[in-house]
């Protein structure tokens, strides 16, 4: 799963790999603390998404791109899910132990 867009005639693909996650954590990023420190961690999450395919893009450029992004909230939620998937992909699926919650439409 990746997010793609074009900015100033350059195509960008935002995605995470395990190396990117490791580098982000070394830089102080913690997904579970994003609600407590959104001002610091949200920009870090966006910057981290460039590490896999666009490592050479400068920080200023990333900030400039972020300013022009529409639906920032939706993008951050998507990026957070992608980050989480990168982590969970090394864990074996075990649906047996997961308690299922049934739901209905009223």
């Amino acid at each position: 799963m990746a997010i793609t867009f074009e900015y100033e005639d350059t195509k960008y693909t935002l995605e995470f790999n395990r190396n990117a996650v490791t580098l982000m954590e070394k830089g102080g990023f913690r997904l579970d603390q994003i609600g407590e420190r959104p001002a610091t961690l949200i920009p870090m999450l966006f910057e981290g998404a460039f590490l896999m395919h666009h490592r050479r893009v400068k920080e200023e450029k990333v900030h400039e791109i972020y300013k022009h992004v529409e639906d920032k909230e939706g993008l951050i939620v998507k990026l957070a899910n992608m980050y989480q998937e990168t982590v969970s992909s090394v864990l074996e699926e075990d649906d047996k132990d997961t308690k299922k919650i049934s739901w209905e439409v009223q």
Binding site: F16, R18, N19, V21, T22, E25, K26, E85, V90
Partner: protein, 136 residues
């Protein structure tokens, strides 16, 4: 434990099941998900192969058994292979096998009931025909 530490810890395992170092750290994260599924299939195949081998061994021992008369006193001893399917490797496999066995048991009960009903109907029909015949 941080995610980086988890990755450090599981990387050797993924390398042991065929994911390269480069793919693990720099490739598509989904690679590991599919590697785990592939490993599960490999384990199941290996288990089934071992089970097949045990069947061949069992058959070979049965074939060789006439050479050893001590157990059977020259009579044919009826031996049965007790493991009808490979041992389950996971709880999920064990549950599935138990479910299949339960279905088989239920089907046997249904078949017995149907046979009983068919026999009962046949006997009832025969009695009825006899009464009709005698009544004429």
């Amino acid at each position: 434990m941080t995610n980086s530490e988890i990755f450090e810890r599981v990387c050797p395992y993924f390398m042991s099941i065929g994911v390269s170092y480069h793919d693990f750290w720099f490739g598509d994260p989904q690679i590991c998900k599919y590697a785990l599924k592939a490993e599960k299939i490999r384990r199941e195949r290996k288990n089934r192969d071992a089970w097949w081998q045990s069947l061949y061994m069992f058959k070979a021992m049965i074939d060789a058994s006439p050479a050893f008369h001590d157990f059977g006193n020259d009579k044919n001893v009826e031996l049965k292979f007790s493991t009808e399917e490979p041992f389950p490797l996971t709880q999920e496999d064990a549950d599935r096998q138990e479910h299949d066995r339960e279905l088989k048991r239920q089907q046997e009960i249904i078949n017995q009931a149907l046979n009983y009903m068919a026999a009962h109907n046949a006997s009832f029909r025969a009695k009825k025909e006899k009464v009709t015949h005698d009544g004429k």
